[in-house]
Assembly symmetry: C2
Amino acid sequence: MFESAEIGHAIDKETYEAQVPALREALLEAQYELKQQARFPVIILINGIEGAGKGDTVKLLNEWMDPRLIEVRTFDQQTDEELARPPAWRYWRQLPAKGRMGILFGNWYSQMLQGRVHGQFKDAVLDQAISGAERLEQMLCDEGALIIKFWFHLSKKQMKARLKALQDDPLHSWRISPLDWQQSQTYDRFVRFGERVLRRTSREYAPWHVIEGVDPHYRSLAVGQILLDAMQAALQAPPQTRHNPHIAPLGESIDHRNVIDSLDLSRRLDKEDYQEQLITEQARLAGLLRDKRMRRHALVAVFEGNDAAGKGGAIRRVAAALDPRQYSIVPIAAPSEDERAQPYLWRFWRHIPARGKFTVFDRSWYGRVLVERVEGFCAPADWLRAYGEINDFEEQLCDAGIVVVKFWLAIDEQTQLERFKEREQISFKRFKITEDDWRNREKWGQYRDAVGDMVDRTSTEIAPWTLVEANDKRWARVKVLRTINEALEAAFKADKKSR
Amino acid sequence: MFESAEIGHAIDKETYEAQVPALREALLEAQYELKQQARFPVIILINGIEGAGKGDTVKLLNEWMDPRLIEVRTFDQQTDEELARPPAWRYWRQLPAKGRMGILFGNWYSQMLQGRVHGQFKDAVLDQAISGAERLEQMLCDEGALIIKFWFHLSKKQMKARLKALQDDPLHSWRISPLDWQQSQTYDRFVRFGERVLRRTSREYAPWHVIEGVDPHYRSLAVGQILLDAMQAALQAPPQTRHNPHIAPLGESIDHRNVIDSLDLSRRLDKEDYQEQLITEQARLAGLLRDKRMRRHALVAVFEGNDAAGKGGAIRRVAAALDPRQYSIVPIAAPSEDERAQPYLWRFWRHIPARGKFTVFDRSWYGRVLVERVEGFCAPADWLRAYGEINDFEEQLCDAGIVVVKFWLAIDEQTQLERFKEREQISFKRFKITEDDWRNREKWGQYRDAVGDMVDRTSTEIAPWTLVEANDKRWARVKVLRTINEALEAAFKADKKSR
């Protein structure tokens, strides 16, 4: 979930200064339009890692916009009055009215996260709090509110550097953080439980936006732009769209960078290394699947990637290591008649492996947020809710002991072109290249955005995405095998711990 | 939640036999239309008390309709195949396809209830299961499914009689029930946790229908009619209503009886008894509110009722007992400008008492499902979701130690007419009677239905409705005071237990 927020998003000062005036003006205009219409409030939630620029961003928003129409609320210590009433009372009394904006800093999410990180309760109670937050937000959206949730992120290394800098700065050293962020364990727990919270509460009516917090120019422009897009969309929506809640749009990152670009596609293996490593990893996989600890688990491997990225070849190298009775490969193409008569995920549920078994999905449920999104085969509301549905689905698999590994095989446009041309030359490969493939190339940019959103919203601690640099097929095949092996070993190790 | 299902709903044989042929024909027609359109599946969940006619009803539905288009699924013991996969897999594989009906007998709800009743886990884990069920059903509805949930209910006494009868019947004595229903504690726990499950999962896109199970004619017609109404509404809805999910309509009970009719409005107190009891209860209330145990609680009393039912007089008798610094009375009329700029429940949240205090709501948040529903001030989707929102709201109050008592003061039409006329005669009461009051009288039947639904959907174990027979004002006033006193004493007692 935080992959895209650790790639070093940055905007140079010149670009920043060139863009700010127009953004400010548009935000102010949106704000006055909001006041004029007085149809709905804007509720902005600010959460995330200490030192990632939450406070500075809120300050900036107040400078950019008309602060008379913004209420900034913090929820630190409960007052006596608040302590004497149900916990939610303090949030209700601070809600912005229709036509106004409220920035809730330290909201219901901070409370549940702090409680969980400090070990005041376990996951079941955290889940109760999460479900309470969902009901609250659902209700607010049904009542017309536009909710925008920002999570400011830093990698652990970035956070440490940032805290150090703040500590040394006399202007900031008075800041006391509610969690003891100096401890590396606190960061780990905060990120782990934060991910659980984000996974469950990123719903289509109020999705989270994860913002990388290192570069102030980037984070300010990113927040401003998301805010502006969401407000403009909601202000333009017809008045009675109560069952089509304001969906804060997903958009391209403002510095045009996404996780895919941060891959080093020049990575490669020479033939000798490849053959040695391939054999080693294949033997290791065969051993792991024969291991008696495998009886408590199953394995699901998802292969997605650019056309001609080499999914088929990678899958064959995985299969080559194994007894055919132990695995099955499910190629996902257009759904059958039976499948069309069922909810979207049904066709995947039917192929879930039993304990001890291994299923390879050659393309998968991610088609919903890739090809169906890009080609317009389903409505935006449908693919937007799919992220949450897929996370729920994979969580159920993981809870049942299934190890889920997901690969995106990435190549660049030039490599794809070469492979397409090559395929047209070789008779037995010619069937692999169609008009559709050429057409898809024209949508390269749209697919890139869709892949970025997919990774951001569905790469979870329990089922992370592995991005595979696949310009070199050898590198890709070995990385795939090694990733599977490491995931299985980690699962076996976790068993031991929990016993 | 089960109030309406303990009033002895019944349909005589003649009426039953006269109505069944038309119902059957209409159901069959709907079934074929469903098949023809093949746009969505119908998923029917069957749950409830043992012996309440679940099995017989399912059998009957198969006789009435075309069984080739119905799949009846039971989920008893998990098979080996099922045990080897995530728990939800067994449900996914049994889902009916678009155009077909599936009756799920022993579904996700049975599993979580059995686990909780048997003490295999606590409330937090039950809540996790509930939230999983909500996600599943929300997703199914988003995918177009029509979900109809039936809870078959019997009072404890009725259940015992029914089990006894079954036991003595050689045709039925082989039936073994999964829970040991002979134990009275099992019934209590099942009903208690059942109510928690119903309260949380009765959402506007898939509400529960509670069916009193004693009389086979009544329960069969009731189920058939609800099924028919829901299917017809969904079949007639325009094709792309995906964000306007099929809402199974709430309707008048088929035997035209509801909880309000079952009140004995002739109950009265003579003057002497009244004065004695009034003073006793007032003194008791004053004592309870001064009690130091009150520091851990607050008290909220909601007064709703027919026009001229005597709410004001009853409230005055409550207040008369108390120190004015300890209570406040909040009259609810049309919302102010500030209140209209906020979500519906905001105007009530702002008046929630601090610990130790007592707030009387003279009319309340129930306006949403009474006057706003009947007068069409809000859309059906809004008042339908309000039941769940109100239950969530009151649960938060109760969790914070607030004792919530809710009164519906009921009078009959004749008594109301007399009081209206009397008011017109007495000068200082004349301001109490308006054109609106006369107009409301014409909607007596609609208000009656709305009150019935309100009680069914919001009378919960934690915040039950008290229906007050108010033709006699003395009877009503004493009953109100006594109910408040008993609720406070019960709360104090529960404190002691939990310490």
